[in-house]
């Protein structure tokens, strides 16, 4: 049962624009496979992305797509999700886009546990702008802005997300697509904030500067950083230093989802007999309203300027 990817892709925009060996295409394929298995209709899916290599995904998928400004994709997605709670909203982005400049929005989206699925393509570098180092560039690795190796410590995005309260946090690897698809699928199904941190090779802008220009070699190099969660349990703290654990790292079924919590708030507000509550329920009576005369309104608004009132264009 091969997946018919053409159903989800804007085929007229193919071929994909990413470099040979880049992991973005693999992540996109696992993603579409997960959606296909869930049987979601592309009419209900909206995808937002910021600026960067990974952010070009929205151009290829045939959903409701927004290609927004750098770092703010999650904030835009929160707006869409709150306005349409019953629709699926996804965010695609790179480590620079979502963690470095957009970290604040990621942090608070985790805290709110809003039902958005964020696929974070972590290629350790700012790829599109030419390979500058980012907050995930491994110490010692060369980048266009770290010619003698990056000296900055990195961030474990998953630990940060768990600390901030995200409901579902997982880490996958572009070199292991089958397991990555399962992680993404579970993330999509989870009712709440799902973050999937995917290690993805960037042979052109990262690999070539670190003698890992061959995509296969870079894939193996990345694999050396990764430890499966089962194996990690048996390893000591010392051995785990500098390693990143893959698999489902955190899943909290009990945490309330933001749009559900907001529905509760709306019910409480609509139970009151305030003006707009009655207006929404259509129970407004003439007693609630005030019939103003033209002269009285003229006193309130004595200027020789048009009003939006249908009845009195000019007072």
């Amino acid at each position: 049962m091969a997946v018919d990817y053409a159903k989800y892709l804007r085929m007229d925009k193919m071929p994909l624009y990413w470099c040979p060996g880049c992991g973005d295409g693999i992540v996109l394929k696992c993603y579409l496979e997960a959606i296909d298995e869930l049987g979601w209709s592309k009419d209900d899916c909206a995808m937002v992305s910021g600026i960067g290599c990974a952010a070009r995904v929205t151009g290829y998928v045939d959903f409701h797509t927004l290609h927004t400004i750098h770092g703010r994709a999650i904030a835009v997605a929160v707006g869409i999700k709150m306005a349409h709670p019953d629709k699926h909203v996804f965010v695609f982005g790179g480590d620079g886009d979502l963690v470095h400049i957009g970290g604040n929005h990621l942090l608070h989206a985790c805290r709110r546990n809003i039902d958005i699925t964020v696929v974070l393509i972590n290629n350790w570098i700012y790829g599109m702008t030419g390979g500058q180092h980012s907050c995930t560039t491994p110490p010692g690795a060369k980048a266009s802005t770290a010619p003698r190796g990056s000296y900055e410590p990195t961030i474990d995005v998953c630990k940060m997300a768990i600390g901030a309260g995200a409901g579902y946090v997982a880490r996958g690897f572009a070199g292991d697509p089958v397991r990555l698809k399962k992680l993404i699928k579970e993330g999509l199904e989870y009712k709440g904030f799902a973050l999937i941190d995917v290690f993805s090779p960037c042979p052109i802008n990262f690999g070539r500067r670190n003698k890992l220009g061959d995509p296969a070699k870079l894939l193996e190099h990345m694999k050396s950083f990764l430890v499966s969660s089962a194996k990690a349990k048996r390893m000591s703290e010392e051995e785990l230093k500098g390693k990143f654990i893959t698999g489902v790292l955190h899943k909290d079924e009990s945490k309330p989802e933001l749009t559900e919590a907001y529905k509760g708030l709306v019910e409480k507000a609509q139970a009151s007999d305030e003006y707009w509550a009655k207006y929404a329920k259509g129970t407004l009576t003439d007693a609630d309203k005030y019939k103003i005369t033209r002269e009285e309104l003229k006193k309130l608004y004595p200027y020789d300027v048009e009003t939006p009132l249908k009845e009195w264009k000019k007072l």
């Binding site: 804007r10 925009k13 009419d43 209900d44 909206a46 937002v48 600026i51 929205t58 151009g59 045939d62 959903f63 409701h64 797509t65 927004l66 290609h67 927004t68 400004i69 703010r72 904030a75 835009v76 997605a77 929160v78 707006g79 869409i80 709150m82 306005a83 349409h84 709670p85 604040n104 929005h105 942090l107 608070h108 907001y262 708030l265 709306v266 507000a269 609509q270 009151s272 305030e274 003006y275 707009w276 509550a277 207006y279 929404a280 003439d286 309203k289 005030y290 019939k291 103003i292 009285e296 309104l297 309130l300 608004y301 200027y303 020789d304 300027v305 939006p308 009132l309 249908k310 009845e311």
Partner: protein, 398 residues
């Protein structure tokens, strides 16, 4: 059949937004605009609408752009510093061409400036705050009742022209409680974005043969789903990035002509005692109230002076100002900044008559007496300011 209430302009903007069909609000607290989200946080859940307090101003305007692109009317409200943070996303809204209302309750600047004091120092920022050539519409009400009418007009202009609209009130106006009439949604003319008549498969978000292409809602009431791509890069009709030079020039000109071809429809002005005026005062927002009193006083002494008040700051009413310049002896521009709109007036007047200014950015309202003195002697500087002796006593002494 509406409601009478005793509100300040902030609360009035909040109520008027709901009358105009607001569907989503995202904001961030900032003095002096916090009454807008405070009131909205109470009345929006009543109407079953999503209300968000985001983590920063950048997130709040981006959430609004997301909600607006997906099909609901969105608004965000802030003051000076927040308005600076929102500029990049305001530019995105301009290139997305999505309707959006951004309320800027102007306070003393620059930087943190005078958080509790009024000013009108964001006029040029409203026009050129975000980078690149972009069209903008900015309105300036002068009191709470007009803030209601202008908020409704802001939403209508935004929906009609697929364009972010900036509503410029100020710190004093927004805290002045007055009696206002809040109309009912049925009572006022409300414009929704034009929907395309083509079906989803051959719909283009930036169709070439429209000056204002219809912006399809993602999920229409009758169950259709318009899937398309909006990009913050220069894009072709399908919304995909393009770098074609000819097309880029054409697109930017279309964005500007979308506004400049309809200036008469967008601008809205008030002439107060201008029929036989020899001196014209140009003022907007709450400064216009003081100008009105000064004009009445001067008229009693037989000075032929009148007020021209643009309610639409950008695009500026060039025809009207130019027409006034051909009739009056000189123009006085009164505003709570060091002369920002004065530059625009001078550009339009182009030296035909002298343009004087009452440019007081002291964080206090301009008094009618100041404008009255300016009318009497235009070359006199009437702004309150520290004099040389005071400076010495204030701390400049040996």
């Amino acid at each position: 059949m509406g409601r009478i209430a005793f509100l300040n302009a902030n609360a009035a903007v909040a109520e008027a937004a709901l009358v105009a069909g607001l569907g989503f609000y995202a904001g961030y607290p900032i003095t002096p605009s916090s009454e807008v989200p405070e009131r909205l946080s109470k009345i929006m859940p009543e109407k079953g609408l999503p209300f968000m307090m985001m983590e920063d101003e950048i997130a709040s305007i981006n959430a609004c752009v997301g909600a607006s692109a997906s099909g609901v009317k969105a608004m965000t409200c802030t003051s000076g510093p927040g308005f600076s943070l929102k500029q990049e996303a305001l530019g995105m809204a301009c290139i997305f061409e999505v309707p959006l209302v951004v309320v800027d309750v102007m306070r003393g600047g620059p930087s943190t400036g005078l958080p509790t004091r009024p000013s009108q120092q964001d006029i040029m920022q409203a026009r050129w705050g975000t980078h690149g050539d972009h069209p903008i519409i900015a309105l300036a009400p002068c009191n709470a009742q007009e803030a209601i009418f202008e908020t409704i007009r802001a939403f209508n202009l935004a929906e009609k022209f697929r364009q972010p609209v900036v509503l410029l009130t100020d710190g004093a106006l927004s805290h002045l409680h007055t009696k206002v009439y809040i109309p009912d949604p049925e009572e006022v003319e409300i414009i929704d974005r034009a929907q395309p008549d083509v079906d989803p498969d051959n719909y283009y978000p930036y169709d070439y043969n429209y000056e204002i292409p219809p912006l399809a809602k993602w999920w229409t009431e009758d169950g259709k789903s318009y899937r398309y791509h909006l990009s913050s890069l220069i894009h072709d009709k399908t919304g995909f990035p393009t770098v074609d030079p000819k097309y880029t020039q054409w697109l930017l000109k279309r964005l500007h002509n979308k506004i400049l071809n309809h200036v008469d429809e967008i601008t809205k002005n008030e002439y107060y005692k201008m029929d036989d005026a020899e001196v014209c005062i140009i003022a907007y927002g709450s400064t216009a109230e003081a100008a009105r009193v000064a004009i009445d006083q001067a008229r009693e002494e037989g000075i032929k002076v009148g007020l021209f008040r643009p309610l639409t700051i950008w695009p500026s009413p060039e025809k009207q100002i130019s027409d006034i310049a051909s009739k009056v002896k000189h123009i006085i521009v009164a505003e709570m900044n060091l002369g920002q709109y004065k530059l625009e007036v001078e550009r339009i007047v182009a030296g035909r008559v002298p343009v004087y200014g009452v440019g007081q950015a002291a964080g206090v309202l301009i008094r009618p007496s100041q404008i009255y003195e300016k009318i009497k002697d235009p070359s006199k500087s009437v702004e309150i300011c520290l004099t040389e002796e005071e400076l010495k006593r204030f701390g400049g002494g040996e």
